[in-house]
Symmetry: D2
Subunit: 299 residues, 4 copies
Amino acid sequence: MRTKDHQIESFKNKMKNRGRLLIQCPDQPGIVAAVSQFLFENGANIMESNQFSTNPEGGTFFIRIEFECQDLLERKSSLQENFAKIAETFSMEWKLTFVHDLKKTAIFVSKELHCLRELLWEWESGELITDISLVISNHTEAKELVESFGIPFVHIPMSKDNKRQAEEKQLQLLQEYEVETIILARYMQILSPDFVEAHPFKIINIHHSFLPAFVGARPYDRAYQRGVKIIGATSHYVTNELDEGPIIEQDIIRVDHRDHADDLKKTGRSIERSVLARAVKWHLQDRVIVYGNKTIVFN
Amino acid sequence: MRTKDHQIESFKNKMKNRGRLLIQCPDQPGIVAAVSQFLFENGANIMESNQFSTNPEGGTFFIRIEFECQDLLERKSSLQENFAKIAETFSMEWKLTFVHDLKKTAIFVSKELHCLRELLWEWESGELITDISLVISNHTEAKELVESFGIPFVHIPMSKDNKRQAEEKQLQLLQEYEVETIILARYMQILSPDFVEAHPFKIINIHHSFLPAFVGARPYDRAYQRGVKIIGATSHYVTNELDEGPIIEQDIIRVDHRDHADDLKKTGRSIERSVLARAVKWHLQDRVIVYGNKTIVFN
Amino acid sequence: MRTKDHQIESFKNKMKNRGRLLIQCPDQPGIVAAVSQFLFENGANIMESNQFSTNPEGGTFFIRIEFECQDLLERKSSLQENFAKIAETFSMEWKLTFVHDLKKTAIFVSKELHCLRELLWEWESGELITDISLVISNHTEAKELVESFGIPFVHIPMSKDNKRQAEEKQLQLLQEYEVETIILARYMQILSPDFVEAHPFKIINIHHSFLPAFVGARPYDRAYQRGVKIIGATSHYVTNELDEGPIIEQDIIRVDHRDHADDLKKTGRSIERSVLARAVKWHLQDRVIVYGNKTIVFN
Amino acid sequence: MRTKDHQIESFKNKMKNRGRLLIQCPDQPGIVAAVSQFLFENGANIMESNQFSTNPEGGTFFIRIEFECQDLLERKSSLQENFAKIAETFSMEWKLTFVHDLKKTAIFVSKELHCLRELLWEWESGELITDISLVISNHTEAKELVESFGIPFVHIPMSKDNKRQAEEKQLQLLQEYEVETIILARYMQILSPDFVEAHPFKIINIHHSFLPAFVGARPYDRAYQRGVKIIGATSHYVTNELDEGPIIEQDIIRVDHRDHADDLKKTGRSIERSVLARAVKWHLQDRVIVYGNKTIVFN
């Protein structure tokens, strides 16, 4: 994994002056002027900017600005302090993130490995930029694959009886590794409410249907029974309503009467893996903002 | 409409020797041999053939054969009689249709005209080949458009109180015009069970969602509420389970966080009209076979 | 056409305070701050903003801002004057447009009417907002259709011998009607260099292939000969290099070995019309910026 | 690789009675009757059948039949002999293939591994069923990956000076391993005419553009220069006309003005790998028939 470490260091170095400002506040005139004036005065050059308002006359305003700023890492805290004043004026919820600080990620997986594989490949090729801290599974199928990428694999068996203990072990590991984002890459287990609440909009799931069609178990079988002509996959943040969390990305693929449930399952894999990979990428780049039970995706 | 009449006559003349054989029977060896031998002996040349078996070892077998046969119109009844023997041997459900005999169609519409318009245009340009007997509406918005194509328009107002009488009037017209296929081009009324049962798998609806997501009323509003990233349209045969009939065709289009419910409605129109037009075309060409609550589409 | 007039007046009234600022200039820090400060000080509320830089360190910067401003129509010239100072500082090319001032459009058409029809329908339904001044054709097939929408239709026959005179007549009409945008809705004639140069990036064409494949005549025949599995349509600004102008929008549709050249032609119509309609819509909304021989599309 | 061997044996056993009959002949009445009668008399049950005629009145007829037949492996030669008589009557070109006999495949690769990876994964998961005999590369990047799947990797450096010798070595290996299908998974070298002619329609390439746009080198750079809004990938059989061989499959993906040439390259990878994988799968299943410079794909 020497090559991979080297690649990451080079990325971090290249991006050491790159920051992102994410803001959400009641819409009113003058927000963009104030924020862009702030960035200008602080020597920050806007690289990309996306904004959206639910209703320019009194709705909620969202903006994501990616900028370059000399000596950003040294100036982190002074920037934060200075911006706090503007934020107060406009009653902003906001955060400043630094591209240099890679988000730490844990991937949860069960027996089916196609989504995990896609993430590992895109990570290795540099398309998915994150620090994959570990992979956790209730089975051992993924062990060899994960370790071949030099990533720690932890097997935590899961049964009805030991669910609480298993989740405690998971939580301990997440804390230990300071994990920020959890990816359920076909994990097939329902997380307990406490686990979910401890990670609000930090857990990304892939559901193998075009939600809200076929919420819950065995969506391909049910799609087959219903005789749909198109199947889908949906990536969403996990909430405590099963498959009802904010949708990040969806995609579909055509099927026909010749496809049995097993064919749908095979065919569906290709969109499951690409939909999850896109959703994860956008999340890691701070492009996804949750608003109510929906997402704004600045991609 | 002189031009249109001329175009239709020319089509019928060109297709006067074109027939279609549709068969459904328990699968067993020898079916294709028997059917193709029959066609060969009767001087019919196969132009297109599609087959499907739910399970070649004891499932149900389906075949659609389009053929050319000299003097077909004169030989209709002799062909039917001769084939009956083969059909008996293999316990076939079957029908022989003649492309020359255009299916008679009625279009039901309400206030929104985009689907009706698409059908009329494709009909006029010769892409949709049918005999549009009449258009029936509970409103008058479509009157001018329909009559400009030389097609009878009948306004039958519909209220809670007069539903039974209105439907009786509709049924009378369908009988009078010998209508075979009924197209609900955004008709927005739920047909009574008796009406539906009188036309099994002869009524084609367009539902403005990606079924089975958003069954029922106001699908775009609900899609907006759910925050989906893709919207869809579904054309299906009408049964007495609302939006649960066999699906013929579906398609989708991307939307994003900027799209309000009204934008979804506008955007969705483009797929509603193309999905319905495709489903109708396939139905008119005897390409859609209902099997259980699903369709086999030989396209 | 009473209804249509009424619909347009209502739109113009609703949009009377809506303006758009389009800017292109060398990238440097402070542009967004200056522009947004200007808008804020002039009482303009940003409704939508899109920006792009070819290279934030010394490239070209583009921004499109849609804003609302009290009494905009009265303040047009003062706004223009005030902004001129900022524009000078940053060496901007810019324009300020007013949604209330509908762009005047002429549609050129030949014998095939599907693209014209789509534009007229979307115009009538309020999805395409423009002032269609007239339709010009070298044939008469479109006459009845165009006039049924209450739009002037002018027949200008075109032959090798009269091309110069015919174009002069066209130019005269365009001037008379003060036309801003010319749409070639399958016009099938090559405009003379003088004609094109008189309307830089104001003439939108639909080419019935996925450019740069099949530049020039008979693209569907050539696509059939090549055995492609997908066909396309491309809408672009007309320049004096045939089919080489800046591309605005493209789309594709699948075909297979069963499709003859005629089938490709039929199938292709559905994407030709939707691609052209989208390109026209974006152009009319000032969403398309030409840069070199490419477009930036802020949609 | 124990698991993989086991999986293959189990597939071969399950398919030991499965054969495919591929026929191409002048169209005339009675072909289907004769062929299906032959299969019936020989105890073969049709599992899937696809046919196509370039023109039912005197064109070329193509049929692909997949069938099950007791003790097929023992009856191979008798079936071949018996069918030869029918074939003669109808002047057929034909072949009988046996699913049990996995096609032997060689993959050629250079430095970019995404297409190779996709093939290896789909092979490992059982979606791509073939006997991958070896991977040949002019570089060493793929060595570790290939060998981790238990597949022989052969490094044959390639320079202007040693091209002839290098190709001779390749040919020797192909012969030694009895390779039937050669897959160029982003191989980036032009094969010599002799090499190509020795493997007619047995070499499958992936070209990173939507052919016939951007034939030749650096298609993404040229797509970027042209400002296209959609990029594509094309899988085709290799002939001695560069990028002009019969197209098997194509697909596309949207891009926009923000995408630099490097982004197109990254984005394009996802369709390159899926397009190549589909083309290879169809070829291995005898679903692709070359006719002139086109393909008929019975999928």
